[in-house]
Subunit: 330 residues, 3 copies
Amino acid sequence: MKRKVQITTTMALKRKSKQFKWQRKHLLGLRDLSAEEITYILDTATGFEQVSRRSVKKAPPLRGKVVVNLFFEDSTRTRNSFALAANRLSADIIEFTKKASSVSKGETLLDTARNLEAMGIDIVVVRHNAGGASRFLSRNIKACVINAGDGFCEHPTQGLLDVYTIRKIKGSLDGLKIAIVGDIAHSRVARSDMWAMTKLGAEVTFVGPPTLMPAQANLLPVKMSYCLDEVIEKVDVINMLRIQFERLGGNPFPSIREYSHYFGLTVERMKRAKSDILVMHPGPINRGLEIESEVADGRNSVILEQVTNGLAVRMAVLFLVNQAAAQQKG
Amino acid sequence: MKRKVQITTTMALKRKSKQFKWQRKHLLGLRDLSAEEITYILDTATGFEQVSRRSVKKAPPLRGKVVVNLFFEDSTRTRNSFALAANRLSADIIEFTKKASSVSKGETLLDTARNLEAMGIDIVVVRHNAGGASRFLSRNIKACVINAGDGFCEHPTQGLLDVYTIRKIKGSLDGLKIAIVGDIAHSRVARSDMWAMTKLGAEVTFVGPPTLMPAQANLLPVKMSYCLDEVIEKVDVINMLRIQFERLGGNPFPSIREYSHYFGLTVERMKRAKSDILVMHPGPINRGLEIESEVADGRNSVILEQVTNGLAVRMAVLFLVNQAAAQQKG
Amino acid sequence: MKRKVQITTTMALKRKSKQFKWQRKHLLGLRDLSAEEITYILDTATGFEQVSRRSVKKAPPLRGKVVVNLFFEDSTRTRNSFALAANRLSADIIEFTKKASSVSKGETLLDTARNLEAMGIDIVVVRHNAGGASRFLSRNIKACVINAGDGFCEHPTQGLLDVYTIRKIKGSLDGLKIAIVGDIAHSRVARSDMWAMTKLGAEVTFVGPPTLMPAQANLLPVKMSYCLDEVIEKVDVINMLRIQFERLGGNPFPSIREYSHYFGLTVERMKRAKSDILVMHPGPINRGLEIESEVADGRNSVILEQVTNGLAVRMAVLFLVNQAAAQQKG
């Protein structure tokens, strides 16, 4: 979409961010982070965005460092994004992809990580189907740990790239109304988004059928709606979650067709949205299912910008945790 | 094989090549290319061949560029060759290997490529089982696209390395008689070879059983033969295609043994060939099937030279498309 | 474990090592190597250990060289260790992992390697389920060959890292008593350990049930025992082999539980061991099976040190074979 980039970020936060010193050597989830910390990552990412626009897309800060992509679940997008980000910072990257074994997962994870650490790994980027896996790791090894998705808990770099994308276009998240639509119950993206967005001042509404809503949602800092048609007119940003067929059990909705009818983002439905609504999707898209192709490729879509920004955000996170580790060492 | 390297390349072409300016940011097929363009790639490859002979096998022209190996079909040889070529030019390489999903392939391919592009990929090397996949990509993304094999259409870098190998030994392709033997119908190598060889002045004969000949072969700039024994005595170069068991359906020949009997390159058959015939094979070899081991490893075989030259040719192609993209940008 | 590092290595050997000139461009097994050669590798590894402790973990000696990881058997640990070692020496690494095809393995292996060589590979790190595979390769290609495990024969870099770890802590292997416990018959680690340890002056005892002992063990330079309880009190080092379920056929022991009872390294059994015994394991550990968790993580365990040292040893081996190849060329 064509748009003017407004750089009217809340100046108060920015000033705070100047004095702020990043001190975490792990990034496990956005629930733990303050608004200042999130803003600091976003500001750092803005700087790194330049690197990717250069003809020689390389910066030296992680030269001689080793990043391991420790993925116990399939992923190409997030894995490649971290690999490229590490690469761009001149780190070496080791790909370590395997299915979690069915027994004694905790032990396997820990032994695997300890072994990698013994080989002199500096940063572990970990995805695991057990919630809390990255936190468990961070308590047991000395390397920096970045959570690239743990169970249904968090996927913090996705949350960060989402707020980065919104902030870049809207200038600030303060006071924005944001809908997150779909299978909230099984979405770590929804959780990380929720923490980042609300901490930066947005109002978040989870939208989906009751069967796909999280348990004890009333304890979360969000509104809830079972009707997309009621919400679509009011929001500044809409984030359409992917229907993850591989995670659905127990027939949470009668049919795909019915789901699309009530919760899909169609051209028809978009007619009632604000003209400058941002349409987001964490990818990969099921075209014609949770979102129609015309909308995914339309003027309000920022789906590919999200991918581009993901690289800058991941460079920032790799850079910051490494810096914190270096300061804590000496 | 021991031989004198004749450097008596057609000087007219060479002079043209000097004035010539490469302008394509994609390499999709050799059908599109002029003799000048093909010669220009070969001349560029000659320069890069030196790099691989150095003790430090590195040149800097693609430093900070990202090449993605986007392979929807299994490949180790071509994939590794491109990876090494990219590496040798100091590019970073991302491996992205996946089976084409059974539904909506076009969309998947496009979404995948758009995502990679959004991550700042500069060059996409793509192999896909759908003919025209690379052309489709080139029309829809801004990155450079290199076809590493699309369906039964083209495999242009294989064609280039084949003519490179012949030119290096024979000096020129002008007037040479070349037989391409085997499963022509399912061979993208045969097609790319045909275009490159005929454009450079060679006379090409497709040899194989009628069931493995292409439809409408009479429209192609080649001769046809169903009898290897009639052809073997006359040709300067013979390219033995691999029997691709995985692609054969409908029993195109009664038995492997019968196929080998009529179309295999045996020691016996070689006795009637010219003494300086070049024996080529795109690999991997089915020893004892389309070619006997003694012939594959014999003095006329240039099969391993083809592999070596493939690296130089791929370096040249990566270098040229990147240069064209840079010129078109600024 | 807390310990004083004694650097009282046998000075005689060290002096010899100074005059010594490494001349092998392949590392196929430790059976072939003299004590001087083994010591020379260990001394070289000591130097490289520093590189891994630097902030920028890079040294330039293999810049522009290409190392291929040619693994026909699954491996993450050894493969990653070689990749990191190559990386740290600034080499480029190509990953080539595939299951050995069921037919004509020899040919496939050779053709694969010849192709890689034709692409300008400098060093092939090969793991294959056929004993002698690396030796076969070394006789047929010009690149350097490093055996990363061949059948039940040898795994020389594991043997080297084991003696490196012992020497680093105990100062010397001369006169040490070492037990290697478990499935000796199917263990290439046991064989490489045996050669390295005995050549450096240690006394090695193989311990395990008779069904898991090697044939013609009386021809080997080791003692044998079928009773861990008889051996545990006397040894300075105990190396617990992994039970490799995937390799066991024919029910070599009545049950896992019974195996653990007689041959597992338990807390109970450790009470009768020397207080400064070194507990080793080549990994990955089956916790609670051949070794109890408390022992694996206990103060006598050097299991993670082995992993760390593996990197230094592999850097040394890559460095030395490359140097020998360069000297033999010019």
